[in-house]
Amino acid sequence: MLFHTWPFFVFLLIVLPGFYALRKTQLWLPWLTAASYFFYGWWNPYYLLLVVYSTLLDFCLVALMDHCPRTGQNTDVLSRLTGLRFDNRVLKVAFLISAGTTLSCLAMAFFGPQTLRPTMVVFSLILLLMTLGALYSSRKIWLLISLVNNLALLLFFKYARFVVENLNAAFASLHVSARLSDPSTLMPFGFEYLLPVGISFFTFQSLSYTIDFYLGNVQRERNFVRFATFVCFFPQLMAGPIERAKHLLPQFHQFPTVCLRNFTDGASLFLVGLFKKLALANYLSFYVERVYDNPKAFDAPALMMATFAFAWQIFFDFSGYTDMARGVAKLMGFNLIVNFNNPYLATGLGDFWSRWHIGLSSWFRDYVYIPLGGNRDGVFKTYRNLFLTFFVSGIWHGANWTFVIWGTLHAVGIMITRELERSVFYREQVPRLVKQMGVFLFVCFAWIFFRANSLHDALLIVNRLATSPWRDPQIPALMLILVALVWLYQFGYESRFRKCLQTDFVRVGTAVFMVLYLCLCASGGGAFIYFQF
């Protein structure tokens, strides 16, 4: 159910009145949860098992973590094991249940149906860790389980095939006869091995809650329904923005303030998102596909224009989605974070990442870069941490070497711009527009690796950009005009001319233009690019 389709419109027509009708009861929250699960189940009902499992486990892990002492203390493991002498009854029950189910799962792993054995091995491992967590009353172990569980889900569904293929290729090149079997053979009951939509988003969101609780940044959420709504809140479930418990969970504690501004702001955000997706992203995608699906057939200008077109396509597609997500949430009175802030006006790569996919970049900053040491231990370690963070960010986007190179390029780029920004000349003498263009060109160069169908294609494009002749790229003038208008609007927005954009005439005119353009020229459906991540 995509935001820009009629089924979503019908869904919203049912959910929204129901939500407001229940505002004076306690049922508005379960209604929201049910709507979110329905929304997610619409794609594939089997995915629901995954999201419910992930939510339930993290909810329980944090509850158990809450029963463990914050400061380390000596635990008499032997007396706990032999006499079941636990200071805390909850942990005792957790120990007994985990130990019992670990044994059952192990039995199933050895003697159960063939199709269930791999799954049971994984469950045994998780349950064993839970047994240890209860035995040692260790917050660290509960956190570790959450990390292992969420990352294992992500690794299995997103990266297992990539890893297996690369290992098999390595074995073959080393003349080793061993071959790993395809991960699809590990699926229980012959379920299809498909990447669940939005898995990277909801696992990261759920994970942030357990990490934040461990660090003492958020309170434990005692209401499961509220926590489930936080993990699977339908506007941002599929492609973010990745929210933090600190920001979103409190909004579910009471029914939001009902006011007219929610509707006008929500509709404004939704309209802009719809226009970005249907009128701009989908249109640009036709040109990008034409060129990137057969790069050999195109010369440097077409490859260059297609790369620029992709830069705008992915921006319109992803920021369009988040605008719509924010709009839908706002219609119900909830505020989601800004995920994109005119990133192609950035004057440095650091600035770019503070404007692009803000939910994800701040996640990596808080949970990867800073725990690695951030910029606290000198230049070398700072750059090492930056490199690792962007490397992981590249991998997060997908299981392909092209994403790894894309992440690495950004890591290198951010180091270069950091160094440049240290010089007075660059800071004060280089015009802002030149910096903006430099960043845009670098980002576009990196997008080649992000968009190319393979590493071979990406290298071919880079090669042809430098060597092939210059011929008419045959890019539609209408496409250029539309992108130029948007860019100009963005420049205007961040300049002293912003006041002109605030006039009634411009606001109403822009909205009317967008609606009429959508009616006359919408470029058809198509899923969002970031759903695959």
């Binding site: 089924p7 419109f9 303030t257 057939a297 005119n342 539609p476 009616c519 058809g524």
Partner: protein, 382 residues
Amino acid sequence: MKLSDSPEIPFVNEVRLSLRQWVVVFGILAFVVTLTPALWKKLERFETGLDYRIPYVLSKDYWLYERRLQRLEPTNIVMLGDSVIWGEYVLTNGTWSHFLNQEAGVANLFVNGGVNGLFPLALEGLIRCYGRPLSRQKVILHCNVLWLTSPKADLSTDKEEPFNHAALVPQFSPRIPCYRADASERLNVIVERNVAFFAWVSHLQSTYFEQQSIPKWTLAEAGGDPPLYPNGSRNPISQITLVVPPEPQEDSQRGPQSSRHKPWSTNATGTTRFEWVDLDRSLQWHAFQRLMATLRGRGNDVLVVLGPFNEHIMAAPNRPAYRKVRADIMRWLSENQIPHVAPELLPSVLYADASHPLTEGYQRLATQLLTDATFRNWMRSK
């Protein structure tokens, strides 16, 4: 409900409209959406001269079809049906309606209301959604048993099958098992049927942009190696000439001079064995019955012309089943007091395939109809 006090939500553009601004936007949009299709009819030249039929390339322009029906005189007799009425193998001066006019000696008494590629399930949708201007007219409805010759033709197979005019068939009920559009496409169709503005947008795309959206048109490939994309540099607005293109004067696919205009037997395909669908279970037949009810409900005086289907193409053991289907249809028509005519089988050489006559075939059918007592009585009735 409070007017303000909303928690602030950050915007990264200035498209943040207040209630008053939204009201103005809706006002402007309502004005444009309501008036544009009506105004367009005055601005755009649409010639419907002698023997006019909706051009082949505009078969899916249902807004134009409705506009064509709006030009009917109360005395016109409209012939409704699929490509047999439209004239798949013949030019405009070789159609059934042309010869009826010629034999009757009255110009444009009979109007060609056929559309290429239709079938009863789609015809029902066309008339229900776009056929309101047809109310109270005299109508000749053609019943082509071709759509009962197999479960595939009846669209009742479970295997997914692509077919023409999917935007006209029932989207949810009755269910068409071989139609597998997702919920979004189906709802899209329903919206387009019910909002004239969207049907008008579809008309623009059909008439001026080669049945594509404007963005897709700007990217259309014109062949060549390396491929050319000439529309990219063209101004889309200049495409809108405000003239509905007529049927081309020269048509290599139709008329006595075309290579397709020849008897079916010259294709050396031999006779065929059809898997006739039981009328009780036929989706197409049920659609035909619903269409009859719609037309009668709108005060149309309907005469049904059954066939004549090309029996020569049928394997001999297959003919009894065909005759039973035909008899059952006739019985239903009689039971419901619907005047009907079943013209005699034409000579084999006057059929181009299982159901389409060649030019001379249409001429003979026109003569047959005009001499038929039932037809003459129906013509005389008010």
